[in-house]
Amino acid sequence: MSTIQSIAGQNEQHPDLALVDKVRAGDVSAYDELVRKYERQIFRIAQHITQNREDAEDVMQDAFLKAYEKLDQFQGNAKFYTWLVRIAVNESLMRLRKRRTGKMVSIDEDLKTEEGSVPRDFADWAPNPEQNYNQSELAEILRKTIQGLPQGFRVVFALRDVEGLSTEETAETLGLSVPAVKSRLLRARLQLRERLSRYFKRKSAPAAPSGTDGALAPNKG
């Protein structure tokens, strides 16, 4: 369907591929460059999936090592980044499995619920509502909110909307069909919106008194 992106990208070689070739030829410093370029994204993705900082640190290291070891298997017609993300997603899921021993973990988990597929809260939000919180409060709200999503929605949202992968890349990375990614994305977006509405909706507070010297007036004297 949306072939526009892939056609546009076909003619020019992605700069990562030149680096990959160098690494294959034995230039470790080229790999240093690739790691530096993507380590923050990989760390974020691992955090989104494992929801645990130590796990994310391990996943990040393991993913880059595995990618380095398996670089021969990387096909030049794919994007290095997408390939790397797939390794990181798999490492993250493996890490989760280890943590919850005996319980199968997959990205298909917890998706049977229809909850949150229809909007309920129609209150409008304040203009730039995020500015009503300081940085750490806001980060906490955003973390708490996204962590409440079912795993299979959270991962799709993280890859597609936070990391900016295309729908097709997200599908390929997670081994899902494009329609499955689309339906999860819509529900993830709607559920996050619904949950954030609690914090961001316009307060229907009475207008502040003006021109009065009430209790809030600074004390002079």
Binding site: S2, V28, Y31, D32, V35, R36, E39, R40, F43, R44, Q47, H48, A56, E57, M60, Q61, F64, L65, Y68, E69, V118, P119, F122, A123, D124, W125, P129, E130, L138, A139, L142, R143, I146, F157, D161, V162, G164, K182, L185, L186, R189, L190, L192, R193, L196, S197, F200
Partner: protein
């Protein structure tokens, strides 16, 4: 257009992949339906907020430590 039809097109609208005639139908619906207008604006804002705020920060010292560990292990041949 019904609200259900609107909801089905919401992602395409946000991702800007709807055709011009569909877009004008959607806009016409939103002018009449405050609920759908709010859903559109707040969903778009949700994505924008998540995209522009780092919620899982990798502090510079930790980043350096992990980076060095990765490169050391690669150079050792893993």
């Amino acid at each position: 257009m019904t609200c259900t039809e609107f909801l089905e097109l919401l992602d395409d609208l946000i991702d800007d992949t709807v055709s011009a005639p569909i877009r004008s139908e959607i806009e016409q619906h939103m002018r009449k339906c405050g609920h759908c207008e709010v859903v559109f604006n707040t969903t778009r804002k949700t994505i924008e907020i998540y995209r522009s705020h780092e919620i899982f920060d990798l502090p510079p010292d930790l980043r350096e430590r992990l980076h060095s560990a990765i490169m050391a292990r690669c150079k050792r041949g893993c």
